[in-house]
Amino acid sequence: MAPTDDGFEALLEPFYNGKKLTDPIKTKEDKYQLVPAFLKVKGLVKQHIDSYNYFVEEDIKKIVNANRAIRSDQDPSFYVEFTDIRVEKPSRDDHSGMQPISHVSPMECRLRDATYASRVLVDIAFPQGKTRIIKKNIPLCRMPIMLKSSKCYLNGANNEQMQDMNECPLDPGGYFIVGGTEKVILIQEQLSKNRIIVEAGDKGVVTANVTSHTTERKSKTYVIYKKERIVLSHNVLVEPIPIIIVLKALGGMTDFEIMEMIAGGDASYQDDLLLSFEEATKAGVYTQQQALEYVGVRAKMGANKKGGRFNTGPKRSAADEGLDTLANLIVAHVPIEGYEFYPKAVYIAMMVRRVLMALHNPKLVDDRDFVGNKRLELAGQLLSLLFEDLFKGFTTTLRLNMENFFKKPNRTATYDPASAIGSNGASITYGLNRAIQSGNWTVKRFGMNRAGVTHVLSRLSYIAALGMMTRISSQFEKTRKVSGPRALQPSQWGMLCPSDTPEGEACGLVKNLALMTHITTEVDEKEVKEWVYAMIPGVTPITEYTGSEMHSPGVYVIHVNGTPWAMTRRPQHFTREFKQLRRRGMLDPFSGIYINEHFKAIHIATDEGRICRPLLIVQNGQPTLKAEHLRLLQLGKAAFVDFLRQGVVEFVDVNEENDALIAVREDDCTFQTTHMEIEPFTILGAVAGLIPFPHHNQSPRNTYQCAMGKQAIGAIAYNQFNRIDTILYTSVYPQRPMVGTKTIELIHYDKLPAGQNATVVVMSYSGYDIEDALVLNKASIDRGFGRCQVFKKWTADIQQYPNGRKDRLCVPRKNEDGNTEPKDHLLGSDGLATPGLQVHQGDVMVLKEIPVDQQSTGIAGAGDRGPDGFKQVPISYKIADPAYIDKVMVSSNEKNQSIIKVQTRQTRRPELGDKFSSRHGQKGVVGIIVEQEDMPFSDTGLCPDIIMNPHGFPSRMTVGKLFECLTGKASVIAGRRDYGYGDAFRSHPVEEMGKALVEHGFSFEGKDYFTSGITGEPHEAYLFNGPIYYQRLKHMVQDKMHSRSKGPRAILTRQPTEGRSRSGGLRLGEMERDCLIAYGASQLLLERLMHSSDATQVDICERCGQLGYRGFCHTCQSPGSVTQMTMPYAAKLLVQELISMNVGVRMQLEEKFPATQ
């Protein structure tokens, strides 16, 4: 078997799930084994890792190769050439030259607030005299390493090695550790690049646009049909240019050829072009030269700034300008080789044609929300963008450094770039770290400025962390009220989870990957092209054809990554052959192909970021997957890759899916069927996969559970007690769910569960169970039900100041009696809290002292030396509920500063108001805790842990919960684990469960006879009961309970502070005020708004109406008419602020109770 323990062994083991090697294999039931086989190599977080690996191993080399040489303007013979670049394995940053480079584990980085990064080394070559000097392994910068990537120590580690590194073998990896925090680069959803998107606007405007994306630049070109004119628009063009002029400028075509290129033989399209041709004539553009000038004049000078600013060469002519614009800026991704403009002309003509087609048939516009038109950007791609930008910045600073050196008239030494590389490379390190830490992705050259790309990995529960790794964030604005991008797209079937999306503003914009989704990395299209030329006959390059030939009937244009490349007359044959090549393993398995009949086009895609998934291949109505394949898989003699090559499974992207007829089940296969689903439950994601019987629930309930599953308290990782997180919730006795799913096993939720199987009775009890409140059994709580632990982190850092002074720890303080101060009783002689002791509010955990003198230079001779005293800044426990000191860590960070981390621990038993939820979006708080003897009990003496109110069912329609209960009960009673499967679309039939119940003397429907524990008489109805998996959610009363009688006030307004953390007051707001006014409770209002808030005594002069001071009016210079009165401080403040702005305020006073006349 495989040497690594990735937790999938059990699933592939022959004896798994009660099946023996000798048992017959049925492809129908056992084909799910392909899912673990797939997840071993791809899927879930592997895409992050694949993408990062591609960047670190290939892309980074390509980037450096593209920017390999730096030449000096001062000394043209000198250059620095980067010949190679490589990323090492992670090492400590703070090793000095004396020590050997030391390995660093991710856990060490987390604990020491360090960055898990490794050195990036470059090889350089430069001339020295006449010899070419080659220097190898020069450290350039440090690159944050993704956990479990090929550069990470965790890659391929088995359980034992993981344990040695204090790492959890089930941790998904795929994130970074920067400054001790775990950061995930979320998957970014974007509209696909280099593809034409046709859209219809208002008033008959039709546009075709394409976002060209090359390593050099990113730009968008539009072809717009507006008021019968067709124009081309681009950022560099001052105004849109008539399309015919653009095509003329591209050269080599007569008007007739242009017409044929766009319209072919179609008269109606030709008519549409009439006005455009006229326009060109009106503009006086007949020749290519004229057209180029026309374009050149309208191109912004900014476009060639780069050339203009540094090259003080001769000013270029308008025609040159136009040529440059067309060649490099407009539809930049269509390569121009040797001024061969024909492919670009074909491309622009195609855009025009698409516009015209959409004009005649409005159905031919593209759908922006179609998943096939989307690309997912992963960590590797984002990092490569950033790295390229930073590397380019680095080369410019290096060149400046070089210039400065060569500027010196008399140089003493020869120039050695090696040292300059190290010092300037720090900017790359800094840039990478800052971007990952802050989540602000700024790439100047693309004008890209994105915030919130990275997030702190949520470690609330295992599922929260895993769910974060599969999350996709969309670029759409959350505030816009459009429903299109938020809606469930039919094309996301099997690719994106239909259930897992947040509620509220990000609804439908934040998505999650389905279980079997894979995101492609880039494949070299050249290779694909060569194979196609070599293997498939009847393919001819497009450059050899004119427009009329292109558009003649029966001819299909083959596009590679959206660019026309060749033609064929046998499209079906071609695609078949292509797929054949792919299935035989000659082409990359992730290259996609599909036919677009509307546009008579075949599209081959090899680009990165396409969403695809594996499907079983069906031939002649029979899946090619046979029992022997599964047998080999069980024996460990075949892996998923082998099946790819044997034509059993293949990866199909969203566009290719449109050409396929996919059967859901084996029985659905006909002769037209091309593919079959591996397992239907894989349309759900990892988080939705926890729900048993999700196909019986109302769909929003599944969505609610997806949000709540992430808040459930459970086991986080095997190394949870070694971690020191800001806040960590763990369950004392987590249990594997009684009713599981295949997904639960695949994602190992059964090993790191978050919940307990509670015996639930559905009945109304005590009246404290209205509005979804739960009734809990006190004895169950006594015995450990729902018990959880809360760990909190408190840190102190020991700083060093520039003047040489240092923070320090000190011994516990003594009071007058010579005893230790009560606050310091936890502290040992080292000034640190002792693990195991109980801390109460106000107790000191770290007794730190900081020097009073931090500013002076500390040079005594210069007289600049401050006092030697120290000020105590204790780190004390601030929470009202006591806790225990769990552990104390003393270490140093990368800047060689000592850091102290203290972790406190609370063990909490469920109390009134704590939140619980089942796995069906049914949350509730504890309404009452009942003694065991008051609980209803069955004939066997069984009494429930939880009583749930039946009103929770009718409106929620969570039938899955009923099924879970019944299935759980049956599997408990029958002692059969295999009963307990609630997989989506393939769960155990519930009738069988009922039969099992009857066999063991229970009711068929799961409703049993119960006796009231209070009266001792039977209940008049049978009660539905059984085990239901309940999750304890992180919202606990203890963290929210708050009240105030008196307390702190804000400095400025003297009003009570706000919020629990500042022990603030509860605001009597505007609407509450309205109520009191309407009711007429004026004295209560006065009390709430003034006396209990910010009442203050002021002196007011009755004569001038201004504020006085100490019974004296300074305006009137008299104490005569000054009166004291009470008013809100905020009002007094307003008066004074207005005065400060030169707005006079006068207060006129009246008798409160005027004497009656």
Binding site: D939, L997, S1003, Y1009
Partner: protein, 372 residues
């Protein structure tokens, strides 16, 4: 028309709780004065003595089953409730941790220790153990006495096992004391405790194989414990029973004959031994005309209704519609008492009777005071 006194059948029928497909009817006892006009149902000790009976089905130390017949549900329930929450037992209440370097946290370890059921000599438990004195007014706990505090000790240190094979992977063989069990807890008697709790009467865990914690080399658990007397209403660990429950006697009444295939199916609707199959004899035919012509076929007869679990499966099938009537006898309580091990099941029940009596006495006193 003058009221007829109820017939014997009528009286019996009143005691039956109706078990229907979806509902349970007749759940309340109507056997009290004033419910039936002209009938006197006032409680009478002599009548009660006459009607009340006890049957013992099983009397194992840790699992007992018996029937109390002729009782009211409130009394029956009172016994059950008292057994769960009011019978005092000994359990670990205070833990003094000297050292705990295991992965299991102090609070969790203490909680686990508290839940371990202990047992000891019955004489001592009954006659010697006293309630712990109330804390002093200053809030300090009262002094411990030998009659209310029992010291236990757990001191385990895990070490490498030098005898383990080089390729051993089983932690229990690789290390010494890798697992800490309840049997590792040591009782340290003091004072008069030597008289009551020595030898086989020593305080010891009921089940020595309860796993408390797992250790690895170098880890150590060293703690002292105090055991006190407490009740289940305070914490479930003091409850002497795992379950104390009762059910009322099922009644199966075959109204119409169930014959042949149906009879076999009917039998399968019940747990084994509830329904028997008998051949219809000629006498049956003579006695009941409905059997006529079915001689030799199988008929369903009730063998032992007590074994029925009231799954009411037979009501689900149309074949048996109106042929069978299910019910339960309201005043026949079949108790099931499972002890956690400190006290014996029958003892627990007897104590509950004493307890109820004591409660009644206290209540009587209060009642008299109230009236006065």
């Amino acid at each position: 028309m003058p009221r007829q006194p109820p017939t014997k059948e009528e009286l019996e029928a009143r005691k039956i709780v109706g078990i229907n497909l979806e509902t349970i009817t007749n759940v309340h006892d109507t056997n009290y004065p004033g419910h039936y006009p002209g009938e006197d149902h006032s409680w009478d000790i002599e009548k009660f003595k006459q009607e009340f009976s006890v049957e013992i089905h099983k009397n194992d130390p840790y699992e007992a089953s018996f029937s109390l017949i002729g009782l009211d549900a409130s009394i029956a329930n009172a016994f059950r409730r008292i057994m769960i929450s009011d019978i005092p037992t000994l359990a670990i209440e205070q833990v003094f941790l000297n050292n705990n370097t295991s992965v299991i946290q102090d609070e969790v370890l203490c909680h686990r220790l508290g839940l371990i059921p202990f047992t000891a000599g019955k004489e001592g438990l009954r006659n010697f153990v006293e309630w712990q004195a109330k804390p002093r007014e200053t809030g300090e706990p009262a002094d411990c006495r030998d009659s209310d505090t029992f010291q236990l000790e757990l001191k385990v240190r895990c070490e490498h096992n030098p005898d383990a094979g080089p390729h051993e992977t089983d932690p229990t063989k690789l290390y010494k004391h890798a697992h800490v069990y309840a049997r590792d807890i040591k009782f340290n008697p003091v004072g008069r405790q030597y008289e009551w709790f020595t030898g086989e009467n020593a305080i010891r865990p009921v089940n020595p194989d309860i796993l408390i914690a797992k250790l690895r080399p170098g880890q150590e658990i060293d703690l002292n414990m105090h055991m006190h007397k407490g009740v289940g209403s305070d914490h479930a660990k003091f409850s002497p029973v795992a379950t104390a429950t009762y059910r009322i006697l099922p009644v199966i009444d075959i109204v119409e004959p169930i014959l042949g295939r149906d009879a076999e199916k009917f039998q399968k609707c019940f747990p084994q031994g509830v329904i028997g199959l008998e051949k219809v004899t000629a006498e049956d035919g003579k006695r009941d005309s409905r059997y006529l012509g079915h001689e030799g076929e199988l008929k369903a007869v009730v063998l032992d209704a007590m074994r029925d679990t009231v799954s009411r499966e037979c009501l689900r099938h149309d074949e048996f519609k109106n042929k069978v009537k299910l019910g339960r006898k309201r005043d026949h309580f079949i108790y099931g008492v499972e002890s956690t091990g400190q006290l014996e099941s029958d003892d627990i029940f007897l104590q509950s009777v004493q307890h109820l009596k004591a409660k009644a006495k206290t209540f009587e006193k209060q009642l008299v005071n109230m009236v006065r």
